[in-house]
């Protein structure tokens, strides 16, 4: 009888592989991290924080986002209160240019370096792109040099080129969840269609921002699958959201992700993506409350969205900025990003 091979502790392996060599964990390893018992969470977060400091540095990237076109989307993403296919209370709205300029100014005044313009659409039409173009011009005319990102759904090559020419430096398009889980979350378009947009964005020279939502009924194995699929995309940024069960959506009765599970996800995604900007995005308020947000910032996160989200509210920006001061974490300056 031969003895079973000794199992190497995944955090010990990660210390050598991720911290020392900068090589992200593979799918099996990520799954092991997601399965760690509660008493190992503190060790996981401490390691993820070391990895983030080693490969990304101490700065935190601060971003604000705004919804240019809210609601009435023809797609059926089951988590989304802006889909026109579900009886959600969210009604359609367009933000006018002065409102967009004010939102960009509010964002810049927090010290943020990123401002993301978002629209609830399958992909942009001429009217939306022209609104974005006018909006970017007006933001610049206001003396605001914040970096502008966009999130306007799936793009054609022509639209990708147009956004580059407008000065959009980063494009957000989330894969949302593991490829194997996507068909149960969205039926009106495919994971591959989203991937195609991301590929075009990357090839055109824009930064790629691509993340997703934890807590949409995926298994831990699918959570691990998603982390390594994102890693294979090599995105510049990964926004990590936690499901907000919004009324009227098919997921309205899904449970909020438990704090310990969310912290395991934060640590695991950092260990899969050592060099990526890992951003705390929507849902952290419900999932973590105030205490957990700090734990996440000390567990591999190096970017936050401050202020409100698209249809949900966040903590007041000042509260997050104070938290960063308390944690002694410098905010990335615009000069560092140019």
């Amino acid at each position: 009888m031969t003895a079973a091979p000794e199992q190497i502790d995944v955090l010990d392996a990660a210390r050598e592989q991720v911290l020392e060599r900068g090589v992200g964990l593979d799918e099996q390893q990520v799954l092991q991290v997601l399965e760690l018992p509660d008493e190992r969470i503190a060790d996981l977060l401490a390691l993820a924080h070391e990895v983030r400091e080693r490969w990304c540095g101490p700065e935190v990237e601060v971003e604000g986002i705004v919804s240019l076109k809210t609601g009435g989307c023809p797609e059926d993403c089951h988590f989304c209160s802006q889909s026109g296919q579900f009886p959600s209370p969210v009604r359609s709205a367009w933000l006018d240019i002065p409102g967009l300029v004010r939102a960009a100014r509010q964002t810049r005044d927090t010290g943020a370096t990123e401002f993301c313009i978002v629209a609830a659409v399958r992909g942009p039409d001429k009217r939306l792109l022209s609104q974005v173009r006018d909006g970017i011009k007006a933001i610049r005319a206001d003396g605001n040099d914040i970096q502008i990102a966009c999130s306007l759904g799936m793009l054609t090559q022509e639209q990708v080129d147009e956004l580059v020419e407008m000065g959009c430096h980063r494009y957000n398009h989330n894969l949302e969840t593991a490829r194997s889980h996507f068909p149960s979350v969205v039926t009106t378009h495919s994971w591959e269609e989203r991937w195609d947009t991301l590929r075009m964005v990357r090839e055109a020279g824009m930064e790629v921002c691509c993340g997703g939502i934890i807590g949409m009924g995926e298994t831990l194995a699918q959570r691990a699958e998603f982390a390594v699929q994102l890693a294979s995309l090599q995105p510049d940024e990964v926004p990590l959201n936690f499901l907000i069960p919004n009324p009227g959506t098919p997921y309205e009765n899904y449970p909020v992700v438990e704090g310990p599970d969310a912290l395991r996800a934060v640590g695991a995604f950092r260990l899969a993506l050592p060099r990526t900007i890992l951003r705390f995005a929507g849902g952290r308020e419900l999932t973590f409350g105030d205490l957990g947000a700090k734990q996440g910032m000390l567990g591999g996160i190096n970017a936050i969205i401050v202020g409100n989200y698209l249809t949900n509210l966040g903590r007041p920006a000042q509260q997050d900025l104070d938290m960063l001061t308390d944690l002694n974490m410098p905010i990335k300056a615009l000069s560092q990003t140019l």
């Binding site: 604000g64 709205a93 933000l95 409102g99 907000i244 009324p247 419900l286 202020g307 409100n308 509210l313």
Partner: protein
């Protein structure tokens, strides 16, 4: 924000006098702007921005997060 003497819950749009709205209040105090008019329960057109929100009822006008 919520209207204390509201006839209707601004989160779920149902009568404030019927049922338990503790969970609705929790959402409104944490992460949701009002979605239904407190006077008539119409769905409002809501615009969220980084620093606030406005919510407009076609009958009862606009309310905002600004104090």
């Amino acid at each position: 924000m919520s209207v204390v003497s509201a006839k209707f819950c601004q989160f779920c749009g149902k009568s404030s006098d019927e049922g338990d709205h503790a969970a609705c209040q929790r959402r409104l105090s944490m992460i949701d702007p009002p979605r239904y008019c407190a006077e008539c329960a119409r769905r409002m057109v809501v615009q969220v921005t980084p620093g606030g929100w406005t919510a407009r009822c076609s009958r009862h006008g606009e309310i905002t997060s600004a104090r």
